[in-house]
């Protein structure tokens, strides 16, 4: 008998994507819970969106991330938080852009530059717009971020700048780390799950 093991995949890519999307949404959620358990200094609830984009393409990552926000908005966070789904779409878009540009090799300096510029500086401008327009801006209920907000507000009196710096302070660490985590995991995933070309 031949010792060769042949993998059989009787299902189409469309149905794999349909099952992959809720898995991405659930991984985002559980990622946030693990962060709480380990007391890691990140949010940890967007890496699966990036991972979904790297393995399933833009739509799998974006819909998985958006779905996560919808579930959270319908349960724990309150309806207006559904708008953060667009932040997950932006995250997936940046990941897709970086993937297409070949900036997913962590040994290349360009990957690190793009990661910090796109996720650490550009992306917070988007989240600042949402947080002011939908949630009125204001301090986060994380002590360090709230302290940064207060310092910028009291020294400049600029409400928008205080919100931007507060968001940048949290995102510039969280999102690049999430990207690195996703790239590391994506490298370890069996080829049969990679739907993205």
């Amino acid at each position: 008998m031949s010792s060769e093991i042949k993998e059989i995949s009787p299902t189409g890519k469309a149905i794999i994507a349909v099952v992959l999307i809720p898995t991405i949404a659930a991984l985002n959620y559980v990622g946030g819970v693990i962060v709480e358990a380990l007391k890691a200094p990140i949010w940890g609830d967007t890496w699966a969106t990036i991972l979904g984009t790297l393995i399933g393409g833009f739509w799998v990552g974006a819909i998985g991330g958006f779905l996560y926000n919808i579930i959270m908005a319908l349960t724990v966070w309150g309806l207006p938080s559904w708008i953060w789904g667009f932040a997950n779409v932006a995250i997936a878009l940046i990941a897709y852009f970086m993937m297409k540009m070949g900036w997913t090799d962590l040994k290349k300096p360009m990957t690190w530059i793009a990661m910090i510029v796109l996720y650490g500086i550009l992306y917070p401008a988007f989240t600042t717009a949402i947080s002011i327009l939908v949630f009125g801006g204001g301090p986060l209920y994380k002590p360090l971020a709230a302290a940064v907000y207060t310092a910028v507000l009291s020294s400049t009196g600029n409400f928008v700048l205080a919100n931007y710096v507060q968001n940048m302070f949290t995102e510039i660490i969280d999102k690049p780390i999430s990207f690195i985590i996703s790239v590391i995991i994506a490298q370890r995933i069996p080829k049969r799950f990679i739907l993205a070309r």
């Binding site: 809720p22 659930a26 962060v35 996560y68 579930i71 309150g78 205080a162 780390i177 590391i184």
Partner: protein, 281 residues
Amino acid sequence: MSVGVSLLKKTAVEADTFVQRLDGRVKFLYFLWATVIVYIFYDPYLNLIFVAVTLAMAFYARVAKPILQTLLIIVVPWIAFAVPILALPFGFPWNKTIIGYIDVFGNKYPVYLEGLGWGITWPLRIAVAISSALLFFLTTNQAKLVATLFKMKVPFKLIYMVVATFQFIPLLAKEAETILQAQVARGLRTDVGFVAKIKNYLSVVIPLTLSSLNKVQIRAITLESRGFSAPVKKTLLYEARLMKIDYIFLSLMFVSTAVLAWVYVNIGYSPIAGLSWIWGG
């Protein structure tokens, strides 16, 4: 385990009250309606009334405890941070009306109405949104949820994704807990620095992701074998239909909307607190 997971582990509470008997679409409409109303007005007292009404229904439906826990974890700390930072002279640009002074170590600081109003009203808006959403989620079982979404013409694949996410979250949370315990048993230290904590995070999420991706294919095969993609009309376990109680509830919402519209036009956006409008508020 976080309140979020313990909450999403809960299925709907089965009790024979009018809240459970209400059609899912009516409860979903209440959730949307209450959220929109508190965003149109700018009044913390009105928000409190909505929270109180929703909590009263939640108590009656025996689902008040998880809702109160969530409000305590999300809304109370938010108010606790926002009120002192915005109401005291830390530069909130719309502050102008002094309502009193606070004595800190012999120094007197003014307390501003605009910052205080903002710091209470916005979190309470979210409190209304959270409590009404949870009332819908915790009193509508999954079969009814599917039927509700189906009646709302949501595509079947999207309905599957929503329901599957609700099912996957507790499963993955349990698996993550098992992986974490296994890693701790083989020497993973949790009282470590910044970089080591990120490494710890990786040591849990890599096995979790690989294991959940392995299950993706099994689930896909199972769905196909049950004719998920078959081009036939889908049937449901539960048929959603509006009853007398749903029409009574909808009528109450309609009357309340008419009263609130009158209040908005004749008294204003802040009828009880009398707050002045600030940008972003």
